[in-house]
Symmetry: C2
Subunit: 131 residues, 2 copies
């Protein structure tokens, strides 16, 4: 498939091969656009996400299909899947079904944090602070 | 540095080594949370972004430092940098200084598209449509 068709066409042709079978998937909350997590997706995980409408990834640490929420209950219902221009990155737009998306826990509540991106860089001090 | 310090601490310790020197950077528009692009960052690009406050990446196709906007004028001013729990993915929260962030052009206007994520999957038909 040529570059123009990939960038401007209607054919879904995710380029899993480009980086060894995995592409990054940004997970964004539907209600407010907050970025909840970033994980990796292979062809199998992508197909399973489309089939089940629940965000599914490939765990690069466990080397297995990873349906988010399968153990925690914190499923992420996928309402949109976006692809980028060259079809080597995607966004899952989701409605969280549980407390959050992160495996870490908020020390104040004891619940899973909503987002993995809970810290920002303080440019002046060079340290992380709460976001 | 142990896992707890990486996840809960204030030390900036981006794990570039985990995936061969590059981490994915999500670029998100400050005004409305729209995801504009996803690109890769190495240690040099990260430091240059902090120094210049303009989103800088490592081009994996050209194998060189890539300051977005240097040729197009479409700089992305970085107002926040977020890191995820295990510090192997980041978000640049930006204010676009030009027309857009994508290298493709909107056929209607001829300008750079605001976002690389301009198509979504039609789940029923299995094809891409405008987003």
């Amino acid at each position: 498939m040529d570059k123009k068709e990939i960038e401007e066409g209607v054919s879904l042709k995710i380029n899993f091969e480009k980086r060894g079978g995995l592409i990054p998937a940004v997970v964004q909350r539907s209600s407010d656009g907050r970025v909840l997590m970033l994980a990796y997706v292979n062809s199998e995980a992508f197909d399973e996400t489309i089939r089940s409408k629940m965000a599914t990834f490939w765990s690069t640490s466990r080397n297995e299909l990873w349906k988010k929420g399968a153990t925690s209950g914190d499923y992420l219902k996928v309402v949109e899947i976006l692809t980028d221009c060259d079809q080597d990155a995607i966004v899952y737009v989701v409605e969280p079904q549980g407390k959050g998306a992160c495996h870490t826990k908020d020390p104040d509540t004891g619940d899973a944090r909503l987002s993995c991106f809970y810290r920002k860089l303080d440019f002046e001090k060079g340290v992380l602070e709460k976001y």
